[in-house]
Symmetry: C2
Subunit: 347 residues, 2 copies
């Protein structure tokens, strides 16, 4: 029997905190009953909430702090002034070995800055990336970076590829995950220097069998590859564009089902089927962005999510811990590092 | 009475050419009966097709050429070897004053290279951009660049803003179009140097009243601004991601409607309403990307489109000619050029 997985929670980050944090812990606990929580936040606010969920109380320990990182705080300011914030203390718990991973729905920039400062990056990773998985026509894919690095060089992209591959193989359970670099066309000569250099390296290196080449925006949801590699600017825009398009479609459909009596009756009959589509594309289901490349598991929940979404983010963290994702990334980096860097390949 | 609008057509570009070109001309002719067409392509292939549509025959003149630009030709090669291609001759017709605009569903890179070479850019435009409009929760918006310029500096982005503003005001008919620069967050400090410098310039310049600031990927379909300004790499990825997401949603829904007898019956009752959503989000309806910033009207149709899609692309060209879009862009550039460039603003 293995030891229970211990997750530290920033109870004060997010629009509906701390309620949705406690509710989320309850949802995660149902799926993974062995989990233990360290909950950082305002004890006076947390106690009455916890009282509603006896199972969580039994599985958790509250660590009181009155401080919280503001949603609009600059990362540098949060880092300097937030030493006793619920976010910082929850990260410290991972560094100190009290927790196996941390989940927060707070300020993304602050969470990344604090995580880097406290946990440090893995030995051969220059910059951590934000990754997330999402639905495709063929199942699920993982994309990174989604916003941690606005400008990336070829080396960063190659490191993202290695981390994404390890994630897809372990957490998504894909045997030999395929990799694609996001670009404006699939031909080798397309795109800017950074993507071409990264592609040349992956084509020549130990991941060559799994490297599909360039993919385009429509390949993300088509599921053309299991892993989509991109810089944080493009990835962030693509992710939010996909969210916006899903909402547009959903709103158009909602209007259509109200447009006539026949449509209303049709909706009534098809409501379970339509509900399944909503469920399948529900952003809460895919909530939980992984900070990959750190010496520790950090998961960022969407700030506006509810208990269901936060619960999913916790489950992502538990999955990453259970699959020992960082050990896999370390192994893979050692394997890939045998070959020369992108610059050498390009001469 | 004004003179008829004359459009030259590259009849040999696109997966379903030349049939869909002739069908598209017929569709456009129904909406704009005064239009005249100059159709460039293989006369032997075109004659029997035209015979099916007497109205097109009356409104058109065929210019025979056996040459066509290959779909996978490099732009530089197409430019050098395609002097007698249907694409090149159709562009020449605009330069020579025989046509007011040109539409092609051929190789995008070749079309842009030839258009730049033959027509040249407008006096104060450094680089032309590709723009397109698309559905939003609030109506329609225009986004540029969608792939002509992989790397853009702040000046390019400001010029895109001016061109997009002129387009939204004239062709979309928006009184004072609002402008947003695509970024990873709405705060002034977000993003890379180019978007921040362009934003600083627009905030300080004559378009300040219309400049909304930064927008994110989800704002594109939300319709937060009438114009979305971005570099060609990000714009291309965003456009194709939106297309892919719409397809994912549509496929999930198709599956759901087949999942039970109740759902099938529900679909039958709601089919007209669902059909309207399909129509409203049909990519063919938004087919026709504008090459903005050239001394002439050039519209690129999607290569895989059919007659309906190609017809819409022709209508986009007709709209641009009728609204004298290039005169508007010239006026606006003169107005904006009074103020210093982005570099000066940033010191």
């Amino acid at each position: 029997m293995s030891a229970p997985i211990r997750i530290s929670l920033d109870a004060m980050g997010g629009d509906h905190a701390p309620r949705m944090v406690v509710e989320g812990a309850g949802i995660a606990l149902k799926r993974f009953p062995d989990t233990r929580f360290l909950i950082f936040g305002d004890e006076q606010m947390l106690r009455p909430l916890m009282a509603e969920f006896p199972a969580i109380t039994r599985a958790s320990e509250i660590r009181h702090t009155p401080d919280a990182v503001a949603g609009d705080a600059k990362p540098t300011v949060a880092l300097r002034t937030g030493r006793n914030s619920s976010m910082r203390l929850a990260i410290n718990a991972v560094h100190g070995g009290e927790a196996d991973g941390v989940v927060s729905a707070g300020n993304t920039g602050a969470l990344m800055a604090m995580s880097k400062f406290v946990l440090k990056t893995l030995a051969t990773i220059d910059r951590p990336a934000i990754g997330a998985f999402f639905p495709t026509l063929r199942g699920e894919s993982v994309m990174l970076d989604l916003g941690a690095n606005i400008v990336c060089d070829a080396n960063n992209l190659v490191q993202f590829a290695v981390m994404g591959e390890a994630f897809a193989r372990t957490v998504l359970g894909v045997h030999l995950p395929t990799l694609g670099i996001l670009n404006v066309g699939s031909e080798e000569l397309k795109g800017h220097e950074e993507v071409r250099a990264a592609a040349a390296f992956l084509r020549a290196g130990p991941l060559t069998e799994q490297f599909h080449g360039f993919v385009e925006g429509n390949d993300i949801t088509a599921g053309t590859t299991d892993v989509i590699i991109t810089d944080g600017f493009t990835g962030n825009v693509a992710l939010k564009t996909a969210e916006g398009t899903a909402r547009l479609y959903s709103e158009f459909l909602r209007g259509a089902f109200r447009s006539s009596w026949a449509a209303k009756l049709g909706y009534f009959l098809a409501r379970h089927a339509v509900g399944k589509v909503r469920e399948r594309t529900d952003p809460r289901r895919y909530n939980g962005a992984m900070f990959l490349g750190l010496n520790g598991i950090v998961v960022k929940s969407h700030g506006g999510t509810d208990g269901l979404g936060f619960g999913n983010a916790i489950c992502v963290a538990i999955d990453m811990v259970a699959n020992r994702i960082n050990d896999r990334i370390r192994d893979d980096l050692a394997r890939v590092a045998i070959t020369p860097g992108p610059e050498a390949v390009l001469g």
